[in-house]
C-alpha cells in the first residue's frame, strides 16, 4: 500500500497541484483535501500548500486557520501526524499556534521570487531526515510576507531546542529574525518554512531537485513507522 499524503486546498491555494506532484514524484499517493472536509480521508500526513488562502486578506493564513479541515489537522498534528506548511501553509500553522512566531511583511516591502540557498539545521524532523545537518540546498522562494518574527525568549528557545530547521544563506530575503527560514514544533512532526521545496523536484522546471528530500523523508518515516 502506498503512503497517502493529503494536500489541503483552501480557496486561494495555488501550489496545491505542485505539492501533489512532488508527493507523486517521491513515490507517495497524493490525496486532495478540501477546506470544508471534516475528516482527513485516512491520510498519513498533511501538507498545507502555498498560495493566498482567502486572498491572504486580513493576515496571511488568518482566515484559513478557521476552516473546518484545520480543526482536524490541528488535532492530528498534536497527536503526532506529520504536517508540513509551505509558505502560506507555514503562515497557517503559525496562525493556528501549531508553530510559534508569526510572518510579517518583507522588510523591503516587495514580493520576491528567487532561487534561495538554505542550510538544513535540523535533519531529525519528519520532513528532513533525508538531509544531513549542515547540508546546503537551493529551492525557490516567493512571498510578500515572509519575515519570521517571535519574541527574543521564543527565538532563544527555538535555537536551544534545535527547532530552527532551515536558515537562509548568502542573503536574508525578507528580514526574518536570525535568518530563520523554517521551524518545527517540539515533537518534530510539524514543520513550516517559507521557501518552496515542491518547486524543486524536477530539473526541467526547478532550479534544482533539492526539494524532493522533504517528500522522501516523510514517506520513509511513515513506512518504517
Amino acid at each position: 500500500m502506498t503512503t497517502r499524503i493529503g494536500v489541503v486546498t483552501f480557496p486561494g491555494s495555488l501550489d496545491d497541484r505542485d505539492a501533489q506532484r512532488a508527493v507523486r514524484l517521491a513515490g507517495g499517493e497524493a490525496v486532495p483535501l478540501w477546506h470544508r472536509d471534516t475528516n482527513l480521508h485516512q491520510v498519513d500526513a498533511v501538507i498545507l500548500p502555498g498560495g493566498f488562502s482567502y486572498g491572504d486578506y486580513l493576515r496571511c493564513g488568518a482566515i484559513a486557520r478557521f476552516s473546518p479541515v484545520m480543526e482536524t489537522v490541528i488535532e492530528q498534528a498534536k497527536a503526532g501526524m506529520p504536517v508540513l506548511g509551505i509558505c502560506n501553509g507555514f503562515q497557517v500553522l503559525c496562525e493556528s499556534h501549531l508553530l510559534p512566531g508569526a510572518l510579517t511583511r518583507n522588510d523591503h516591502l516587495h514580493f520576491i521570487c528567487r532561487d534561495q540557498k538554505l542550510r538544513v539545521e535540523n535533519a531529525a524532523t519528519a520532513w528532513t531526515s533525508d538531509y544531513t545537518e549542515g547540508q546546503e540546498i537551493t529551492v525557490p522562494l516567493k512571498n510578500g510576507e515572509g519575515g519570521y518574527v517571535a519574541d527574543e525568549r521564543t527565538l532563544d528557545e527555538l535555537e536551544a531546542e534545535g527547532r530552527v530547521v532551515f536558515r537562509y544563506l548568502d542573503l536574508n530575503p525578507n528580514g526574518s529574525r536570525r535568518d530563520i527560514a523554517g521551524v518545527t514544533n517540539a515533537a518534530g512532526n510539524v514543520v513550516g518554512l517559507m521557501p518552496h521545496p515542491e518547486h524543486a523536484v524536477e530539473a526541467l522546471t526547478g532550479p534544482t531537485t533539492d526539494g524532493l528530500g522533504f517528500f522522501t523523508s516523510v514517506l520513509k518515516k511513515l513506512v518504517t513507522a
Binding site: 482567502y54 486572498g55 486578506y57 486580513l58 482566515i63 478557521f66 519574541d151
Partner: protein, 100 residues
Amino acid sequence: MARVVVDVMLKPEILDPQGQAVQRALPRLGYQGISDVRQGKRFELEVEGPVDGTVLARIREMAETFLANTVIENFTVRVEDAAEATAEAASEPKAEGVAP
C-alpha cells in the same frame, strides 16, 4: 511629543475586498450581527514639538499627497490627546490586546 493619527479608508463606493473577506468569515467564526466591515490603514505619527495649526496643515497635506491615495481613499487627521482619550474612556473603556 504629540501623536497625530491619520486614518485612511477606501472611499465608500470603492470595492474593499479585504473588509469583505473579513465580514464573510465572521459568521463562520460564530459572530453574527455585523452588517459590514471596512478595512483601512491607521498611521501613528510622532511629532516633535507642539502640534499647532501649521503643523496639522502640513500633516494634512502629507496625508493627501502621500499617505492616502485620494483617487480611491479618504482620510482623517486628528491629534490623539487627553481630551480624546477621556471621551473614549467615557463611552467605553479601551481594550488593550495583550499577548497571552
